[in-house]
């Protein structure tokens, strides 16, 4: 029988990609797993029950992260959409577009250090509002760059057409521009949500340990060398992105194709 190399390589790659995730779930369910044991002595929900009921505040961090990322995602997407339109119609749009790349020239930690003075002055250090604003400063330019490709001559013609058909600015947005940009808005929201969800450097400096997002928590567990809790928080960390990826594939790309 001839060996089908294609299937073999493909299976190997799938295992290679899935293994870390399976291992992580297994680790979060295990206790007392020591070398040379092939399998852990206990597999169950003990870790999950302990950590979710204890004072580690993992569940609180999860909801806090969700709140921060949803706020950053929604505000960045919509402000990016509307402001990128104004930039497109601005005579100096080339220079304004160039400015949107500025936050990405610096490493997030350096960027946060630059911002810290202003955040202290405004009393935004160490609170959720400050973290949302700091992450927005990363998410918003991303949304601006993302939507710069949406605005073009044809969209302008659509706007003009709606105006001559009797539509005001609000109607133009609600009836034409937002439906036309629906898929892009969803993708941008997913992307900015993920940027915020996995943000570490900026959050750790502006949050100064008081705002403990799930990403910060994961690093804390890893620093403590608590593999089981680290794996558990990683499972929580990847849960929303997986859901978003599924929704993205199921609804957004389906509409695009």
């Amino acid at each position: 029988m001839r060996l089908n190399w294609k299937t073999f390589v493909l299976s190997f790659l799938v295992i290679l990609v899935l293994f870390p995730f399976i291992y992580m779930v297994l680790l979060s369910l295990a206790t007392d797993w020591r070398f040379p044991d092939l399998m852990p002595n206990y597999i169950g929900l003990k870790n999950w029950k302990t950590i979710l009921n204890s004072e580690t505040g993992l569940l609180e961090s999860f909801f806090q992260s969700l709140f921060i990322s949803l706020s950053v995602g929604i505000v960045s997407t919509f402000s990016g959409f509307f402001i990128s339109r104004s930039v497109y119609y601005h005579p100096k749009r080339k220079y304004l577009n160039l400015l949107t790349y500025f936050p990405y020239i610096l490493a997030p930690v350096v960027f946060a250090a630059c911002l810290s003075f202003f955040f202290i002055k405004m009393g935004l250090f160490g609170n959720i509002g400050g973290v949302i604003i700091a992450q927005f400063l990363i998410g918003f330019p991303y949304a601006m760059i993302f939507f710069s490709s949406f605005w073009n001559k044809k969209i302008r013609h659509y706007e003009d057409l709606v105006a001559t058909l009797g539509g005001n600015r609000r109607q133009t947005f609600i009836k034409v521009l937002l439906p036309l940009a629906k898929s892009m808005l969803l993708i941008c929201f997913f992307q900015t949500f993920l940027i915020s969800w996995f943000e570490y450097g900026l959050t750790s400096i502006i949050g100064i340990g008081k705002v403990q997002t799930l990403t910060i928590k994961v690093f804390l567990f890893i620093k403590e060398s608590n593999n089981y809790y680290g794996a558990l928080s990683c499972c929580l960390l990847i849960f929303p992105p997986v859901v978003l990826l599924y929704l993205n594939k199921r609804y957004v790309f389906k509409n695009l194709v």
């Binding site: 044809k154 013609h157 009797g166 539509g167 109607q171 009836k175």
Partner: protein, 249 residues
């Protein structure tokens, strides 16, 4: 006069695009405007529709000064060369678009759109999305969407420019029919000589931002600047040459 344009000027930076625009148009008439690319035709239409503000001059529509009025208040519809159908709406909803903006009742929208669909001979296409329609059908939906709002003035910027010759001919006939049926007053910009003559009750020729409107079609044909004489000469020569070749056989 229904439309009166008086001494309208428009410049972009230092370039004068429209110079001393002066003309008038009777109601339910079509003025064909011929001119080469970049001569200022589009800017002229955009100025009349309110999409571009004139530097000076006055535009009167039905006795009312509309020079400073916003485009959405003018009741002047501007149609591009592209059909610009909304891709998220089907043909019916595209035609109903202007009526929905005006918040007209659902029952009236249904009646008016169905009548328009009948006039446009698009009964079988009503529920199709724009990407399922042919070029001619798309252009018809675009016309329907503009005409159904009962505009005071329709501005057409080379509306058949992207169509093949057969479809273009059918669309010209349809436009004439619709113009009569819905009593449309329009400015029809084209760079096609034949189309200008066929579509317009009056003809104008635009050159370097200046518009000259002819009293009648004979004046237009006799003016050497319009290129009609060259065209006639070309076809005459071709006819003679073909005749000689035929007699040589």
């Amino acid at each position: 006069m229904f439309l009166e344009v008086e001494r309208v000027f428009k410049s972009f930076q230092k370039e004068k695009v429209v110079k001393d625009l002066n003309f008038s148009l009777d109601p339910q008439h079509t003025l064909s405007i011929l001119g080469k690319s970049g001569c200022g035709k589009t800017t002229m239409l955009k100025t009349i529709s309110g999409l571009v503000k004139p530097d000076s001059g006055r535009i009167m529509l039905n006795g009312e000064d509309i020079t400073m009025q916003k485009p959405e208040k003018r009741n002047i519809v501007y149609l591009y060369q592209e059909d610009l159908l909304f891709p998220h709406l089907n043909a019916f909803e595209n035609i109903a678009f202007g009526l929905r903006l005006k918040k007209i009742s659902e029952s009236e929208i249904k009646i008016r759109v169905n009548n328009m669909i009948h006039s446009l001979e698009l009964e079988k296409q009503a529920l199709k999305m724009p990407n399922q329609l042919s070029g001619g059908q798309r252009q018809r939906v675009s016309f329907g969407r503009a005409i159904i709002t009962n505009p005071s003035l329709l501005l057409l910027d080379e509306p058949f420019g992207s169509l093949d010759s057969g479809t273009r001919q059918r669309m010209q006939v349809l436009f004439k029919k619709l113009s009569a049926e819905f009593k449309i007053t329009s400015l029809f910009v084209t760079h096609d000589l034949k189309e200008a003559v066929l579509m317009g009750d009056q003809i104008g020729y635009m050159r370097e931002g200046m518009l000259k409107v002819y009293k009648n079609k004979t004046d237009f044909v006799n003016d050497p600047e319009t290129g009609v004489q060259n065209e006639i000469e070309f076809w005459d020569n071709l006819k003679i040459r073909t005749g000689t070749e035929m007699s040589g056989l």
